[in-house]
């Protein structure tokens, strides 16, 4: 192929999301991106696994929210990772639970995320497996090759590693600036900027 591809590698939306054309997003109508989120090639998001039982809400007139995967701002999904909502039996009926991800979440290459919720400023390393319905709070660092068991709750400011994963330390005082993903966001896309040194 001699001709340059006419289209860029990424689709950039009005809200600043950068979605690779080679990413596999299934059921996009159920995927919410907060803006300024980067989705690299070969990422797979299963939006089709939506909640099959409507949540019992007090406001009966509200329209059913079918979001399967909600992602906040400045999230970074590296190459080859998979995001899929986890399922469980709820009141005797099998249903998928939505996967919620807050702002500034980094997901390393080759990781598989089946969590229920992920807080903000979370760093998930490479080849990590987050088990079904795990809850990860804010400012958590999960090291490479960890396996977070199903239903685990990881408190804020923990460093987690191992197979199965356990809390091995705490994020040091002042260490939370390292979780900012604004600069990383600028380094990818159709006209990437070099990372500030």
């Amino acid at each position: 192929m001699s001709r340059r591809p006419p289209k860029g590698e990424y689709i950039e939306t009005d809200t600043g999301n950068k979605v690779a054309r080679k990413a596999t997003l299934v059921g996009t109508q159920n995927i919410m991106l907060g803006g300024k989120t980067v989705i690299q090639p070969e990422v797979m998001i299963r939006g089709d696994l939506a909640r099959s039982v409507p949540p019992t809400s007090s406001s009966g007139g509200a329209p059913a929210n079918n979001t399967a995967v909600a992602i906040g701002r400045y999230c970074f999904l590296s190459r080859g990772c998979v995001l899929r909502p986890a399922g469980r039996l709820y009141k005797g009926v099998f249903t998928y639970m939505p996967l919620r991800m807050n702002d500034h979440v980094f997901v390393g290459p080759g990781s598989v995320i089946q969590a229920a919720s992920i807080g903000s400023h979370v760093h998930i390393g490479a080849r990590v497996v987050v088990g079904e319905l795990a809850i990860i709070k804010d400012y958590v660092r999960i090291l490479d090759d960890s396996i977070v068991p199903p239903n685990m709750v990881i408190p804020s400011f923990s460093i987690v590693a191992g197979q199965p994963a356990r809390v091995i330390g705490e994020v040091p005082e002042g260490g939370h600036e390292a979780f900012e993903l604004r600069d990383l966001y600028k380094t990818v896309g159709n006209n990437p900027q070099p990372a500030p040194s």
Partner: protein
């Protein structure tokens, strides 16, 4: 209804189209990949997620009833030897193959009710017993024989599952399949 369409890049349907024997109650996603030259048989009420790969280059692949094969899982991956055997991969009933797991070809057998965890690998010729659980990133060496009810952790630790929840797990699997059948648009005609 939303006007947005799923952006799913086209999959390379490389290799020959295998002769298939699909049950009518099967749920198979459009973007699953079946390839190879030997027959692939999939029995009733099994669910094949999008982007799952089933390869029959090294022999026949048989999948039992009510199995779930998740996305990016590979059944019948060609191993180092690449030799052709009569049955490449045989899955029993109620088997779950999770995301990104790989089962190598070559008389490999996975017993009834076994769960193969995320990105686990099962080597060629391994025989995994019934109702076993392989946790994520587990690797089973080629030719290994795993007794029934074994739980294998990725750090090599093993124990026997004495909880006796087989019935419950099968029931939960049946419920899950019921839901998935409504969620995943099935297109068996594409593979026939």
């Amino acid at each position: 209804m939303s006007k947005r369409h799923s952006i799913v890049p086209p999959i390379s349907q490389a290799g020959p189209k295998p002769p298939v024997q699909l049950s009518s109650s099967l749920t198979i996603a459009d973007s699953a990949v079946l390839t190879g030259s030997h027959p692939i048989a999939i029995h009733g009420e099994t669910v094949i997620h999008p982007r799952a790969r089933i390869e029959s280059l090294c022999g026949r692949v048989t999948i039992g009833r009510r199995c779930i094969v998740h996305e990016r899982a590979t059944l019948g991956a060609v191993g180092v030897s690449g030799r052709v055997t009569e049955n490449a991969v045989t899955l029993g009933d109620y088997v779950t193959i999770e995301v990104g797991a790989a089962i190598q070809a070559g008389e490999t057998v996975i017993g009834d009710g076994t769960t193969v965890g995320v990105q686990a690998k099962v080597g060629a010729g391994a025989v995994v017993g019934k109702h076993c659980t392989l946790t994520p990133h587990t690797e089973i060496a080629a030719g290994e024989v795993i007794p029934d009810y074994t739980v294998i952790y990725s750090n090599g630790m093993r124990r026997t599952d004495r909880r006796g929840v087989t019935e419950l797990r099968n029931k939960a699997q049946a419920r899950q399949i019921e839901v998935l059948r409504r969620m995943i648009p099935s297109n068996p005609a594409k593979f026939a």
